[in-house]
Symmetry: C2
Subunit: 309 residues, 2 copies
């Protein structure tokens, strides 16, 4: 059987039939530049072994094999590359999008429906309640409920129905947003239960979104986590010493920081960031199944440190 | 019966009981400053008539009456003030909003679903079709249909269901947009049938939105209508003579202008704008019921002028 020497991007191979009997893998590009040396080496060896039927595969039979192998490997890697982080990020961004959409359409609904019943705009601040009322209640009923006589125009049923359709759609979008929130909570309780325990769902989601992946977040120092989301204020401080250094970023919304006295906020943020950092590391570097034991311990410790009952 | 002289913001009135027997209405603020003069005049007259029981109503009995009357009148005017124009504008703006919303959510859906089945993003350009496919078909079915083996990740049913919910919502929003379009067409065929006949629905709606009301549009000259929507280009031309004067604004999208040869576009736009101007005036200043007879005549004339069969 013919022996062949073959070089591709991975290395120089000696083949017998289609089995590799010796190989020299390239470690870097300089290695690859020396490929002729390796090839000669193999050629020499086989000459010593008195194999005269050595050929360079000019027919490129193996090119196709290598191509197929590479493609398959890349595909498999790509399939594996989607991580829970990606799903969490998409879901968080989707909630952001839905918020924007709901606000935009609610503004339109308020402007539109105010041609018909302007008093409602002032009475109801909440967009969700507003959309629900518009889509389900009649104006006459509402007039009685609020005890007003409207100065809105008398429009035809068809005109009002258009507004109601929009209101119904807004209600649907709000329902979808709730669904998404539950979904995020569910995958996060599986993916990073300790982080969720310490940081609360919303803040945990925001932290992951900010760091892009749980891995990045796990590799951050506690002080970085403390200021995540306050980058603008931080760089303002670094450029101009007169601007104060920020004490907290995203985590300001956490109840432990929010309820602390003004002078204690910095301390609370520091301790919380440290606990979040530990919890994230536990979640990312764990082996086997995950639970939120560590998170609960961290919360208990935090409460002690911050004198919270 | 007592005669009284009374002055309010509208004028000076001489009353007998609660009937007005003489009045001097104020034309402007200077008039109002002279109110003492008018009051004295009335007082003098009645002295000549030997009415000794003239009094100024210091008890302000009529103030309340006037207040009530003014409030009622204002309310009635407000109720009448909503015109079909307002409804058309709101509906057009709503369609704009819906377009933005649908694009935003479709972009999110494409990014998200591409974690699961990236090949679809390239195969389907249309957002409506994309959302429909995602919400109704399984990946395995799609793989067969398009003859590809996906490199997307294998996600759990729950993960995919979230994407499907979003896709369904997008489909709903698209349906709502269609509904709105039909609604606009309907009210416009009642409100400005001739304008619609000449300008096509979309362009008619855009023109009204640009002019805010049909009244404004009816008061515009044909040349203003020709350039409506090309304000930027026009002012660039007026500031800097080297920039060319624009030949058409919104109406470029009209088939008569769009299909004209390049050198005839200006002429087509001019004739079309003139026809639109006439049609709008017919629609706005009509009496009795409206039909699109004039519009049809104008279209026939236009076709002759532009040699369109």
């Amino acid at each position: 059987m013919n022996k062949t020497v073959y070089t591709n991007i991975f290395g120089t191979f000696m083949l017998k039939g289609d089995k590799v009997i010796a190989k020299k893998l390239f470690k870097n590009l300089t290695d690859r530049k020396n490929k002729l040396k390796y090839e000669k080496e193999y050629l020499k060896k086989s000459v010593e072994k008195a194999d005269s039927d050595f050929v360079f595969p000019k027919d490129k039979t193996f090119n196709e094999l290598f191509y197929k192998f590479n493609m398959d490997k890349t595909k498999k890697d790509l399939i594996k590359s989607v991580r829970t982080d990606n799903l969490i990020n998409q879901a968080i961004n989707n909630i952001d999008d839905l918020n924007r959409v709901i606000n935009l359409l609610s503004k339109r609904l308020r402007e539109w429906y105010s041609l018909y019943f302007p008093e409602l705009d002032l009475k109801i601040d909440d967009n969700e309640a507003y959309a629900k009322i518009v889509s389900t209640k009649k104006r006459t009923t509402l007039e009685k409920e609020f005890g007003v006589r409207t100065i809105g125009s008398d429009l035809s049923t068809e005109d009002v129905n258009q507004m109601k359709s929009l209101a119904k759609e807004i209600s649907n979008l709000i329902k979808l947003r709730e669904e998404e929130k539950n979904y995020i909570e569910e995958i996060m309780s599986y993916h990073c239960p300790n982080l969720m325990e310490v940081a609360t769902t919303t803040i945990a989601a925001e932290l992951i979104e900010h760091a892009h992946t749980l891995e990045n977040l796990a590799e951050m120092t506690s002080s970085t986590i403390q200021l995540l989301g306050a980058e603008k204020a931080l760089f303002r401080h670094l450029k101009n010493k007169r601007a104060r250094c920020p004490k907290h970023g995203i985590i300001i919304n956490h109840p432990f920081v929010g309820t602390a006295k003004h002078k204690d906020k910095g301390k609370a943020a520091r301790h919380l960031a440290s606990a979040i950092s530990i919890a994230t590391k536990v979640d990312f570097f764990h082996e086997g199944t995950l639970d939120n034991k560590q998170g609960k311990l961290l919360v208990a410790k935090l409460k002690k440190q911050l004198n919270i009952k």
